[in-house]
Symmetry: C2
Amino acid sequence: MSELTLEDIAKLAGVSRSTVSRVVNQHPNVRESVRERVLEVIQNTGYHPNAAARTLASQRSSMVGLVLPRSVSSFFADPYFPRLTQGIAQACNQFDYTLALFLVGTKEDEEKIFPRVSRNGLLDGLLVQSGQLGEQLIDRLINSNIPLVIIGRPFQTEDVSYIDVDNVNAACNAVSHLIRVGYKRIGTIAGVANSTVSLDRKEGYIRALVERGRDIEEALIAEGDFSEASGYYAMQQLMPAKPDAVFAASDLMAIGAMRAAREAGLSIPDDIAFIGFDDLPLATIPSPTLTTVRQPIYQFGIQAVEILIDLIENGIKPARRCIMDTELIIRESCGAFRRK
Amino acid sequence: MSELTLEDIAKLAGVSRSTVSRVVNQHPNVRESVRERVLEVIQNTGYHPNAAARTLASQRSSMVGLVLPRSVSSFFADPYFPRLTQGIAQACNQFDYTLALFLVGTKEDEEKIFPRVSRNGLLDGLLVQSGQLGEQLIDRLINSNIPLVIIGRPFQTEDVSYIDVDNVNAACNAVSHLIRVGYKRIGTIAGVANSTVSLDRKEGYIRALVERGRDIEEALIAEGDFSEASGYYAMQQLMPAKPDAVFAASDLMAIGAMRAAREAGLSIPDDIAFIGFDDLPLATIPSPTLTTVRQPIYQFGIQAVEILIDLIENGIKPARRCIMDTELIIRESCGAFRRK
DNA sequence: GTGAAAGCGCTAACAG
DNA sequence: CTGTTAGCGCTTTCAC
């Protein structure tokens, strides 16, 4: 089919190239009759403007990139990322942007990818999942001055646009709920310590206990990597401290922890209660179903894109911030329905 | 930083634009000393060629698209897709291609996306997940003559490059295994009927039974949509027919079915055995662990990209085909370890 | 409202 | 081996 150019269409419609360009770009200054004629030719020929030429001339590609850094790529096992990606892709469709996906596995990948994500790289803007410590990619990107939205609170927050949930409060609420229901020895399975999410959720856990005058016991704090398996192992570590409730920093870890508890002969939530974080669809599958902190993951993706497009179209200063709400979804695993 | 052009670098290095271009593109015809000098300037300035200009001039973008059509987008809940995407992204990194991701949710999305994925759309080639009936997008794409690799056997197979596993054989082997272990009333939970995967796996199920002279009972055949929940419901439908083994067309459905069986008070694999398909990481989590047909999902992605690049660089004729091997992974749920 | 003309930054013959 | 010269297909002033 087509290898048609603007010039060809212009000739066929009996107008100049500029006029066709105006029609294509919905520019107002075109006589209605002319517009119709041109549109018809475009229809009939199945013409589509050449994206590269357009990008070169207009300095706009209508493409944004999503960068999922090193530590994250393996997390692709966590439904969180597909869901986030889906929200982002959905928003891109809606706003007529194309989404480029960069999974950064290694330091080497990072080098390779850099030219493609920095200015001149065919991208109008960038979404970067972060919150990792020592993410030097982020610093380079910030310096390169490309519109950039960080997903998850970054360590350095000056002059950076980002979107996040209030992890501290969310975690604090979840743990407070456990206290309210009557649990005494509440443990937590935190995420890897080099990320803001993990730190914030752990801080929320601590805050809830401190607010009620409870002691913080190191033996009641374990660490996982957000995976099911890590939740399972973390729970085994917690066991000797005899927790009667556990707040896990992700649903997957909560589910792994429940598995460990069940294997150890504990009954949920009578012997031990659990609360997770995310509210993935699979939270409703185990029995008992999982009480968890709902994050609006999909909305998160949509928002991120909206902010990015704002940055692209209206300049990157001042930095935009967006903190989204969470909600404690009470199901069976926290014992609220039984103990009360 | 940089808004530098080839021209600038040329001036700084005291050579012509073409020479710089040659250096950048690793063209051999450059004197070593000159190359070094140019390279140094590039280093110092942090110059990166403008991708749009390059694409326009060379008619190559080094970008490929991955299209996940309508029916599939919701399936993003199935770890299969993230895993596949990961393989593809990995291969793209390796071969220095950028990956554009298109999640087609609605018919409307399809229209919007079309210009961006057809010729002129900034993409050198396309990977399309398919095997759906009535995927008219595919036909349009084939006609548009863009290098295209279909992931999953498409309905129309003439002149199309695709990559798939031998689903018929794989399913047949799985079911034969159940027969060998001694199960008598083997049911299946098939996928939605409008896809080649579902059809092929169901055919394999039937073939295995027929080969052993067994009857096909409609009441032992249920249908799901590959999700956990659909496996759960399909199992409930199967229950009245009293199957003593079930082959499910996906791990997720197998897990859902096992949940239903357990709730009905059946013990696995003593009362009823299960085999899944995919071998997702979560197949090892339930107890008993899930026997399943392993697909090399990640490798699948890598292969697909390799074929696509071959198509891009060496022309799209003749169509390439690639059928990958599967492997039956025997764990606990099929009862092989107990019954024998 | 419309056309002519000048690039956007790069690649790729073609001479030399 | 290197520089000169055309474009790639489109957007965007600037006149008319």
